[in-house]
């Protein structure tokens, strides 16, 4: 089976074709366009988690632009005179006042503010779930370590960006968060005081800090995020997506849908669905009702003041940290330094270098395009479970006062449970997960060799009872074998080599002509062998 013969050149082009040809005459687009439109993306629900992160970022950009039009990031104190009666006449910063105005006196202001906040929560959440998918399936292995690193960078920046946005309205909660951030900066040995002063332009709360934070939130971090997301996608595009093993799927092919039209339409639809869900949340589920907290006042705090969820693990680590402050030689390393600066530093560093650690430990230097099931790599899966349990203990401890109050538990007991749990739960998670993986492997082997238990017991002539096993059916793929390209181009027309030409190779070709011409792999070896 082959692709169809090349179609005829349309002599009298319509407007779309004319445009296409105009572009081609200037940029030589056709081969690249064809290649990219025919790019195949595999199908699996777990590959859509990263898409959620991407789409919520787009939603953040859209709603964020809307909010910038109304928000005034100014520390200047004003007397509020908007339509929210309980705060009338209260002195507050213009940042807080304009956030109140967005919430109460701007058309579609509150709904977009809430969509923005929800999208931020979902952005970080989907990054983390996506990270877990990538981790447990081994998708980060060579050649995709760089994309893993970029992903870790995106996670860190996403958390920072979320924290900056959470801090901008200058309400009581966000001010308290900033105060803690200032204390953390201050706790860094040697440079801490300067770091805190440079960050806040003076002693906390600083002079005109909010405009500075605003620029970080709407320009610096989003710019870097955008660039990194672009690189993340470009690398994904170039390297092609990983896929789960399946019948007919190999390390050397991708089975799925072409970008155009099915993948594009499905992805567009999925973007709309993500947007829809977040819009419904933004409209129906109240989030960050800053008017209930009041303007920031360093002398006030509300009980159960919780940060956004993705900061929770740092809050928890701060709460669990014993009061170990190092003093000596006229200097102090405060207790707050370890759980808020050192711990995340270690965690994110380990996360970032994990692919390289694993390659070093396993000696696996091969490239992989097929994913693993978690059970196929018990040590990795167990380490992942260990990391998740560590994170969860911290995260739960970040709300231990709320839990203590809700369930009438002593707060001190909660803290001690967290401290002990942080040390003993992860090893347990490790052991249990590893055992589970190995047993699942055994089960797989058993089914492979003996078949699936049928529940039918037979008595043999010698009196022995045996259970019948039926053989495991071979896996059924649910895709047909279809070539990627719809039309075959004659190889001589110069477009035949459009596949798999790395940038380096094309550049090399341009530079000098004495490369040994590599033999092009046929684009559809399977299909051509049919004839």
């Amino acid at each position: 089976m082959t692709t169809a013969a090349p179609p005829d050149f349309v002599k009298r082009p319509g407007p779309v074709r004319k445009l296409n040809r105009a572009a081609d005459e200037r940029f030589g687009t056709q081969a690249g366009l064809r290649r990219n439109l025919n790019k195949v993306f595999p199908d699996h629900w777990s590959f859509m988690i990263g898409e959620i992160a991407l789409y919520s970022f787009v939603i953040l950009l859209l709603t964020g632009i809307y909010l910038t039009l109304f928000f005034d990031p100014s520390n200047t104190e004003v007397i509020y005179n908007g339509s929210y009666v309980p705060l009338k006449g209260v002195e507050m910063s213009r940042a807080y006042a304009s956030t109140l105005d967005i919430s109460f006196d701007t058309r579609a202001g509150l709904v977009f503010r809430q969509i923005h906040h929800w999208a931020a929560l979902i952005f970080v959440a989907s990054i983390i779930v996506h990270l877990m998918r990538v981790f447990f399936t081994g998708a980060y292995r060579k050649p995709r370590e760089v994309n893993w690193l970029i992903g870790v960078g995106l996670l860190i920046l996403g958390i920072l960006e979320g924290f900056a946005g959470y801090s901008l309205p200058d309400d009581l909660l966000s001010g308290t968060g900033l105060r803690i951030a200032a204390s953390i900066a201050q706790s860094i040995p040697i440079i801490g005081t300067w770091a805190s002063f440079m960050l806040f332009n003076g002693e906390f709360p600083g002079a005109n800090f909010l405009p500075r934070l605003y620029v970080v939130h709407i320009l610096l971090v989003p710019g870097v995020l955008l660039a990194l997301i672009g690189a993340h996608l470009a690398i994904l595009w170039q390297q092609k997506h990983t896929d789960f093993p399946g019948p007919g799927k190999t390390e050397h092919n991708v089975v799925g849908h072409r970008v155009f039209p099915i993948f594009a339409v499905k992805s567009g639809g999925f973007f709309m669905m993500t947007f829809s869900m977040i819009a419904l949340l933004g409209g129906l589920a109240q989030i960050n009702p800053i008017w209930m907290f009041g303007p920031y006042d360093p002398s006030k705090v509300s009980s159960a003041s919780q940060p956004d969820w993705y900061i929770g693990f740092l809050d928890g680590s701060t709460r669990l940290m014993p009061p170990w402050e190092f003093r000596g030689l006229g200097h102090t390393v405060p207790a707050v330094f370890w759980p808020t600066a050192v711990l995340p530093g270690i965690l994110f560093t380990l996360l970032a270098i994990w692919p390289f650690l694993e390659a070093r430990f396993t000696g696996d230097t091969k490239s992989h395009n097929l994913l693993q099931r978690p059970r196929e790599a018990p040590t990795r899966t167990a380490l992942g479970a260990m990391a998740i349990s560590f994170y969860l203990v911290l995260w739960i401890s970040g709300g231990n006062d709320v839990i203590a109050k809700t369930f009438s538990i002593s707060l001190n007991a909660m803290t001690w449970a967290g401290r002990i749990g942080l040390l003993i739960v992860p090893p347990i998670a490790y052991a249990v997960t590893k055992k589970l993986c190995l047993n699942l492997q055994d089960k797989d082997t058993e089914i492979e060799h003996h078949g699936i238990e049928t529940g039918i017991i037979r008595q043999l002539p010698n009196g022995e009872f045996v259970e019948d096993h039926r053989p495991k059916p071979a896996p059924v793929s649910d895709y047909p074998h279809v070539p990627n390209d719809r039309y075959a181009l004659p190889a001589a027309n110069g477009h035949g080599d459009s596949h798999g030409t790395g940038l380096a190779r094309r550049a090399g070709k341009a530079v000098s002509g004495f490369f040994v011409e590599e033999k092009e792999k046929d684009a559809e070896p399977d299909s051509t062998t049919k004839h």
């Binding site: 005081t193 300067w194 409209g283 395009n369 049919k530």
Partner: protein
Amino acid sequence: MSDQTGPGRPGPGGSGEPDGPGDSASERMHYAGYQGEPADKADQDSMSSIFHRAKHPVDTSGAPAKGSDISAGGPDVSAGTHDGPEALGTPPHQTDSTRDPQHTVMRGGAGDGGVTPRRPRAEDHDRRAERRAERVIALWFMVSVVGTVGFVITNFVGDKHKEYYTPCLGSALGIAVGGLGIGLILWAKRLMPHDHAVQERHEFTSSKEEIAVTEAEVADGFADTGLTRFPLLRRTLLGASTVLGGLVVVPLLNLTNAKPGKKLDHTSWVKGARLVTEEGRYVKLGDVSIGGIETVFPAVPVTGASGQVSYDAKTDVQTKADSTTILIRLPPGVDRPRKGRENWSVDGHVAYSKICSHAGCPVSLYEQQTHHLLCPCHQSVFDVLDGCRAIFGPASRSLPQLAIAADAEGYLYARNGDYDEPVGAAFWERS
């Protein structure tokens, strides 16, 4: 399911072939109830028609491929009464034989690298189903329009001060984008060919020759720069760029106009400053009942031109950030003042910094029975009776104590001036 007498069914070589598929029963099982079984490579040829869809099926070869056994393979045309192990969800009421799935889905035989066809959808062989799907999709698109109109109407006509405003906007927007999203997904899933495409991956590694040449060219280029031949050039270039790179420190330092200096060591409390509440009331003896607390700020004495002393209450954000103090009136005789602090309290009134020594949150929860102060941020607990010593949680330092006294009129004031140690979170320069 397939209608072998269908007029529009221009089967390839095996057209109208009466035999069933040659597959063994076990192979058939793999198709999991897929009716209209594919057959073999001969059939595959007709599959190029997938892109032309059913109305104009094109057969590029029109003949069974070499080596295929027509009698063994061929389209599964005899399966009119055949029931697969698992019947297709939608019974294939075929109304239009031109929609025969074998023309619309490209399929591989059982031996084709293990790949097997996807089940056809009702839409693939039933025009009515296709029309139904179209109508459903169009309905969702219309739902989207309703949502958009609802959003516009709510936005302009709705009263933004009413409770319904935001929920209505959110729901309308959700319906507007969601309707379009559902429609798009249904469109792709039900009306577009649902076959999968297979694409080859390519190695990223370049050939050895390429690597060698690239490396050689870069090396040659580097040699052309002469950096190896002219050490003075190399060193001065390196030096100049290092110095220039050091320039980034300047904007970094410019980030603050205020050097830290000793600023963290001091607050706005001065000797003689009265304790003033947020409302501007100077705190007198007797204002606070036993067991009560009051958050106070410094009211700095200002000597006017005529010599009389007035007090300037400092309740701005900057002052509050480090000078906020909590005044507690303890029952008589329970306080255990530290050495040298015996006269820092008046009549059971003790004053401590409200800024937590851990991370700077206001320590605002006071337990009357135990005389404990709790910081709501990280749950550090301070024992007021014992000089606000940190007794639980991550805080390791006591809250600094402010020495207070009462003047002749009974107003409380800062006796010794500022705290004798920095308030708030610890830092490197602090001993």
